[in-house]
């Protein structure tokens, strides 16, 4: 059966999305074909509005509707503490976890294999923010993987000599998980990042 050109065009467009293969693209396309008119209209409008309505905050480099973003301009947040993350979606995760300070979004991680160097990230903007003097603590929350480790070390190097406390989030056994389900990398990280228990021992 020949596929109508309009359907083939949609399948092709969907296939360009990350993680979407031919079969998933076809399933989504057939779903949209049968969906109510309002639903497809809403999706199409949302896609078209996306690039006009989303800007990058020039302070924290997160995606936002305004510049500065609503987080950077919120007087109730702790402006002296910065959480450094790789991607805007990490901001969403830490917002859900209840972080009350501000963010700095690197827009990637250092990976020469992918052609990304430290200068391609928003690292110099971070140094500028910190050397402005209003930041007292920087917490590095890059991913606990090879590129995240490299990126964290580049951040530490870039902030060397600045009057701020720099730390990296702990890593190890996931809360709510169990030792027996943790892999050896998680367990060795958890051992390396152990904390003292108040009142225990000497």
């Amino acid at each position: 059966m020949a596929v109508p050109p309009a359907l083939a065009r949609l399948v092709d467009a969907l296939k360009r999305l990350p993680g979407v293969g031919t079969r998933t693209a076809e399933r989504l396309a057939f779903h949209l074909l049968r969906a109510p008119h309002d639903e497809t209209h809403e999706l199409a409008e949302a896609l078209l509005a996306l690039q006009d309505a989303v800007v990058a905050c020039s302070t924290c480099h997160n995606l936002a509707e305004s510049d500065p973003c609503s987080l950077c301009s919120d007087p109730d947040r702790e402006h002296a503490r910065l959480l450094v993350v790789e991607q805007p979606r990490d901001v969403t995760a830490f917002e859900e976890a209840g972080w009350k300070g501000l963010y700095h979004v690197l827009l990637g991680h250092v990976s020469p294999l992918e052609g990304v160097e430290a200068k391609d990230l928003t690292l110099s903007a971070l140094v500028d923010r910190v050397s402005g003097g209003s930041v007292s603590e920087v917490i590095v929350a890059t991913n606990p993987d090879y590129e995240g480790d490299a990126t964290a070390l580049h951040i530490v190097r870039a902030l060397d000599g600045q009057p701020v406390q720099v730390s990296r989030i702990a890593r190890g056994v996931a809360s709510g998980s169990a030792i027996e389900y943790s892999n050896s990398a998680m367990l060795s990280d958890a051992l390396a990042g152990r904390v003292n228990l108040e009142g225990g021992g000497r």
Partner: protein, 255 residues
């Protein structure tokens, strides 16, 4: 292939769907091979969690005979995650350089036990926390050894054309395009050759035959090491037919 268990180093990983991953490994018994790891990002994944770059693990996968479908992970036990290497920028960059070499110079689906063992030995040498002057020799041993075992070794102990051996303590001309040393009698007008001392040429040859773990206490004279590194980079670019993405991160040593 059926069910296969072998040692592996992770060279690449790509997210697949919400909870799965596709990873390319250098395996000891099957060369480079991509494996699908289903559900490894689920909170209670039992197969050892997501793969990280250069993880050294014991891998078991399953693939149907005569099927073109990607092999599936059955079990993975991490042997080393290289914690010391991962706490140092230079070592991390050398690790990425090693990944690029292995991605480019190893075959798919063929046993490569000696290249594999050399890669593991290199990681162990780095993980042991060698003094900084040993890093250059370790990198040269890894690079030279991988080229040699892959059949890409330049000819450095005699003229590529007439096979005459050079006298000691001489300056030689090395022509990457012709695969090594070319004597004065065999040079053809203008070429892309560069000067290389017999000591540097012999040093490169010997390092390509040395276990990187034995180099912890080695320190080369700075000028000699710099010339060996420049030469080996030009020889490597000739083999790869392109510049490396991961430049060897070591700074030129000062005498």
């Amino acid at each position: 292939m059926g069910r296969v268990t072998t040692e592996a180093l992770a060279l690449r990983r790509t997210p697949f769907g919400e909870t799965s991953q596709i990873a390319e490994f250098l395996t000891r018994s099957h060369g480079r091979l991509s494996v699908i790891l289903k559900g490894v990002h689920r909170p209670r994944a039992r197969k050892g969690g997501g793969v990280d770059l250069l993880d050294h693990s014991m891998l078991t996968w399953f693939s149907r005979r005569n099927s073109r479908a990607m092999p599936q992970l059955v079990e993975r036990r991490v042997l080393s995650h290289h914690p010391k290497l991962r706490a140092n920028v230079e070592l991390l960059q050398i690790g990425e350089f090693l990944v690029e070499l292995l991605r480019t110079l190893t075959p798919e689906d063929q046993p490569v036990p000696r290249v594999f063992d050399l890669a593991v030995a290199t990681l162990q040498a780095l993980e042991a926390g060698p003094p900084s002057q040993a890093l250059g020799p370790i990198v040269l041993a890894a690079q030279g050894g991988i080229l040699r075992l892959g059949g890409f070794e330049p000819v450095l102990d005699r003229c590529v054309v007439c096979e005459r051996r050079p006298e000691a303590h001489r300056m030689l001309r090395c022509d990457p395009g012709r695969g090594g040393i070319v004597c004065a009698g065999c040079r053809e007008g203008r070429d892309d050759s560069f000067l290389l001392s017999t000591t540097a040429a012999e040093g490169l040859r010997r390092l390509a035959r040395t276990d990187p773990r034995e180099l912890e206490g080695v320190a080369l004279p700075a000028e000699l090491e710099n010339s060996m590194r420049r030469a080996s980079e030009r020889l490597l670019v000739q083999v790869l037919e392109r510049q490396l993405r991961c430049r060897v991160p070591l700074r030129e040593r000062v005498a």
